[in-house]
């Protein structure tokens, strides 16, 4: 049985064509009828389809009859392609024996892809090189193959050139999966051990876990035990995704599928945990994943204060398949009750926020993202600050430290100068530079994480016509000269608008911030004074003049309906505002605190 199973993932940089390749695999293996097919089929979230990016594909089981006449089960377990989600890569890879490395024929290898390939190699996965988009005018498949040989050590003669868009070469990919990736070899007779590599919450079935059975057999009706918590559950349903949920009676060693066990408490099914049988439990769990720690925090507040519990519930459910999301309740004078949430990066933050709004029907306010500052106080104690409004009194501060990262930037050599310039602007210090090929350079910099969060990636892309790619590792804390920048509206400090800035940039930031707020705060019945201050010193001031006009000059019998609709729209607009004291602020204002640097 296991001889006919191949478990693989796809490693690709965002935009290198992973979803399209997956679509082709589904089509060629006949997993979908023409009627069922739609683009980016395995992108589960609307969000992904809209943004045209893939965070992670849904796992899928394909039946493929190879050229040797035998039918194989191919399980695709995807890896995310964005730097924010690199931690997830390890979970997916751990459930596979091989990986397709997909590289865009006009872009070449990107920094993030490289990091993920190294991870796969460390796990002894078989790597199959694929050069995609060979149909594009700028495609240079031979150059890219050479690069893959030079940088990763693949044999360039074995790299498959394809166009997922046109369907060219897809069969060769399937054949390579069958021929090169080793089948799993778990012991069916041993105790059950299955790895949970993903899960989500279904309101009818409870928590659904995606699992890979490593050894033993899992059957419907079995009593299973979660090895991390020791809790037991009865399996109510097991099945495979082909790509729709299809129930099966059992899943044996080497197989991939899903499991439902009426698990109501989301905390009971942890991604990375090992499932075993309650009657004949295994002694050792499978190797789990590293717990990843969020590096960015922001406050999420319901626009309607009464939605606080609803938000708590939504966060709890989201966390089920996003173990990296952390949250804890906090209170803001301006915004009421909400949660301080930790994320892996800004994309992660944005996705969580949008999912909360769409999937849980919430309207949220997000405060400016912040890294975690480490502050040594004069009394020798130390505090970690994740919320700028909790910044200690400067009198009590001895030293402030902020997280730094080692950023690895991969770029064609003609852009080295402009990249170094950008890194200097962002308070970076040069570590080293390495030629990967005669034309591709890997530059390493030591940079404050806070600087990378804001618009560093956009800066990289715009300075290099999109050719630069970035990977980074958090290295540790370093001392920095940082100050807290406060914003006052009509003389009252709005805690949710406070931010931390480097001393040298604080004056500029303060001015830019009040200017921005002046533009986005609509005119109100009374004049609104906006001030930026550091400590007790006001460094910038602007004002929004009082509203003078808001009138429908004409309203007669023929257009009453239309005029009422205008008023309705106006009322709707008001609902998107947050009342702070007597001032109404658009809810996006809080995020603009961070966007300031990009205006330069």
């Amino acid at each position: 049985m296991q001889e006919r199973i191949r478990n693989f993932s796809i490693i690709a940089h965002i935009d290198h064509g992973k979803s399209t390749l997956a679509d082709r695999l589904l089509q060629i293996t006949g997993a979908l009828t023409a009627r069922e097919m739609r683009e980016q089929f395995l992108d589960k979230m609307d969000l992904e389809r809209e943004k045209g990016i893939t965070i992670k594909l849904q796992p899928v089981r394909l039946n493929y009859t190879a050229r040797d006449g035998k039918t194989y089960i191919l399980n695709l377990i995807d890896t995310p392609g964005h730097v924010d989600f690199s931690y997830e890569v390890s979970r997916s890879l751990a459930a596979c024996e091989g990986a397709l490395l997909v590289v865009d024929a006009s872009q070449g290898i990107e920094a993030q892809t490289l990091a993920n390939v190294y991870m796969a190699m460390d796990l002894n996965l078989e790597i199959i090189g694929v050069v995609n988009k060979i149909d594009l005018p700028g495609a240079e498949p031979e150059v890219v193959k050479q690069e893959m040989e030079d940088v990763i050590g693949l044999d360039k003669r074995e790299i498959i050139a394809i166009s997922a868009k046109l369907g060219t070469g897809i069969e060769d990919v399937l054949e390579a999966i069958v021929a090169k990736i080793p089948p799993p070899h778990g012991d069916e007779g041993a105790e059950l051990r299955a790895l949970i590599f993903d899960s989500y919450f279904d309101s009818y079935k409870g928590a659904i876990s995606y699992i890979r059975v490593d050894s033993g057999v899992l059957r419907k009706g079995d009593i299973i035990r979660m090895m991390a918590t020791g809790k037991d559950f009865e399996v109510t349903e097991i099945g495979v995704l082909s790509p729709f949920m299809t129930t099966v009676e059992s899943l044996s060693a080497g197989e991939v599928g899903y499991l439902a066990a009426a698990i109501k408490n989301v905390a009971d099914t942890k991604v990375g945990d090992t499932i075993t049988g309650a009657i004949r439990p295994a002694t050792e769990p499978l190797e789990g994943y590293q717990e990843v720690k969020p590096v960015v925090y922001c406050g999420l507040y319901p626009l309607e204060n009464t939605d606080f519990e609803k938000l708590r519930d939504a966060l709890e459910k989201l966390k089920l398949n996003d173990s990296s999301l952390l949250y804890e309740p906090e209170a803001s004078d301006a915004l009421g009750l909400g949660f301080r949430c930790g994320f892996l990066g800004l994309l992660h933050l944005e996705i969580v926020r949008e999912r909360l709004e769409r999937e849980y029907d919430l309207t949220l306010l997000a405060t400016a993202p912040s890294v975690i500052y480490r502050i040594l106080l004069t009394d020798k104690s130390e505090v970690y600050v994740r919320n700028p409004s909790h910044w200690p009194d400067p009198q009590r501060i001895d030293k402030v430290m902020e997280p730094f990262v080692k950023a690895s930037i991969m770029v064609p050599n003609e852009y080295v100068g402009t990249i170094m310039e950008l890194c200097q602007e962002k308070r970076g210090s040069f570590i080293n530079m390495e030629y990967l090929t005669p034309h591709r350079v890997m530059i390493s910099y030591n940079l404050p994480l806070a600087e990378i969060l804001v618009d560093f990636f956009d800066g990289l892309k715009s300075r290099t016509k999109g050719y630069a790619s970035l990977d980074y590792d958090v290295r540790g804390y370093e001392v920095s000269e940082l100050v807290k920048l406060d914003i006052m509206l009509n003389g009252e400090t709005v805690d949710a608008l406070s931010s931390i800035a480097h001393k040298d940039k604080s004056y500029y930031r303060g001015r830019a911030l009040v200017e921005r707020l002046r533009k986005i705060i609509p005119r109100q019945m009374y004049e609104v004074a906006i001030q930026a201050s550091i400590g007790n010193r006001v460094i910038a001031r602007e004002s929004v003049k009082a509203m003078r006009k808001d009138v429908l000059a004409k309203c007669y019998g023929g257009d009453i309906t239309r005029k009422k609709k205008l008023l309705e729209k106006q009322k709707e607009g008001k609902k998107r505002m947050k009342q702070i004291g007597r001032v109404e602020i658009p809810r996006d204002a809080f995020m603009t605190v961070m966007a300031i640097d990009s205006d330069k």
Binding site: K545, V551, Y556, G558, I560, Q570
Partner: protein, 376 residues
């Protein structure tokens, strides 16, 4: 109860206008339309169970019809609908489309109130607006209106035009005063998207005035016209005592109205229906003695009706009456909208006096801030 008759023809569409109108291609179209209106009046006579007090011929450009055609329409109204007292019969007029004779004929046809679309006495302004008349046409027609025997007439003016100054607007108002009009409507220029004027503004060829100046022009108008003996009775309307437009008051007081003609809207107390353009469909149906296609714009339940009446009523300086709401809807206005009302009072936007509630002077030009709060 009022009857509105829409005449959707224009010689040239003004640059700021996004209402439905069609160019006049030949005179037989006007005749077909007249017959259609007459047929519609006949077909719908049973919709009304109470006498009418006003007729309003609006457009478009009603003055494109001949006095005879107007007379035939009005004769049909009086033949098939019961009137009460001496109804006000208003008609909108473009200064470029009438002369003394025509005005006299229209007076004889039964029209007793003229509303003249002057908009401005400045040729520069009129060019900006894309009007087909000039300042001299306007003055001539205004002299003729009185001569023709209209003791009741209105001058329509627009302020807030690109490039307009307070002095220029003052000049406009004082020129209007030369004709001693019983009624003045002064409208802030509203920029409707997809009009030629809006495109010019977008392209930066013309610039709208800033809110401060617009507000100054408005409050200047209030003070100036009050000084000239006019009562400010609606956000944009001014009248000598007892010269308010009775037809428009019906709208603002939440009454029912019958809308006749292509593009006209009717209101039966619950529902607003539009006689759906285009014109051809309207004419085709009615020449065949069938009712034209309609579109239901809105159907209101009791709660929505109340809001409707509040929103319209607060446009009037007299405001709305608590007793009236008690009688009409059985609700206590002050109780049901207590939060909104006290909030607006606090902001100095609403005032209560005896049983009435009305906007403060400051709130006229900020009225949406009040009205939108009442919307559900």
């Amino acid at each position: 109860m009022g009857i509105y008759i829409h005449i959707p023809f224009c010689l040239h569409k003004c640059d700021y206008c996004d209402f439905y109108s069609v160019p006049v291609t030949n005179l037989s179209l006007l005749e077909d339309y007249t017959c259609s209106v007459i047929n519609e009046l006949k077909l719908r006579k049973n919709e009304i169970d109470c006498p009418f007090t006003t007729v309003y011929l609006g457009g478009g450009t009603p003055s494109l019809l001949s006095p005879v055609q107007i007379e035939r329409i009005l004769a049909t109204v009086f033949a098939h609908y019961q009137s009460q007292g001496e109804p006000e019969i208003s008609m909108e007029t473009n200064p470029a489309t009438v002369n003394l004779t025509k005005l006299q004929d229209l007076r004889a046809a039964g029209v007793n109130r003229m509303s003249i679309g002057v908009q401005s006495f400045s040729d520069q302004d009129l060019k900006t607006l894309g009007r087909i008349h000039n300042g001299r046409d306007a003055s001539a027609v205004l002299s003729d209106v009185s001569k023709a025997g209209f003791d009741n007439f209105n001058i329509d003016l627009i302020y807030g035009l690109p490039g307009q100054t307070l002095a220029a607007w003052h000049e406009n108002l004082s020129q209007a005063m030369n004709f001693n009009p019983p009624h003045v409507s002064a409208y802030l220029l509203q920029l409707d998207q997809s009009t030629p004027l809006a495109r010019k503004i977008e392209a930066g060829i013309l610039n709208m005035l800033d809110d401060e100046l617009e507000a100054s022009l408005y409050y200047f108008t209030l003070n100036y016209l009050q000084g000239q003996g006019y009562q400010h009775y609606e956000i944009s309307n001014f009248a000598k005592p007892n010269r308010e437009c009775q037809h428009n008051l019906l709208y603002w007081r939440g009454s029912r109205y019958l809308g006749i003609g292509s593009g006209a809207v009717s209101f039966d107390g619950q529902q607003r229906n539009l006689n759906q353009p285009p014109l051809d469909n309207y004419i085709e149906a009615l020449l065949d003695h069938r009712l034209p296609p309609i579109k239901i714009l809105e159907t209101m339940d009791a709660g929505q009706r109340i809001i409707d009446v509040i929103i319209m009523g607060l446009r009037l300086t007299e405001g709305i009456s608590r007793d009236d709401f008690q009688q009409r809807f059985g609700i206590d206005l002050l109780k049901d909208y207590q939060d909104i009302i006290s909030n607006c009072q606090l902001q100095g936007l609403l005032e209560l006096e005896n049983d009435r509630m009305y906007l403060t002077k400051r709130a006229y030009f900020l009225s949406n801030q009040v009205l939108s709060q009442f919307i559900d």
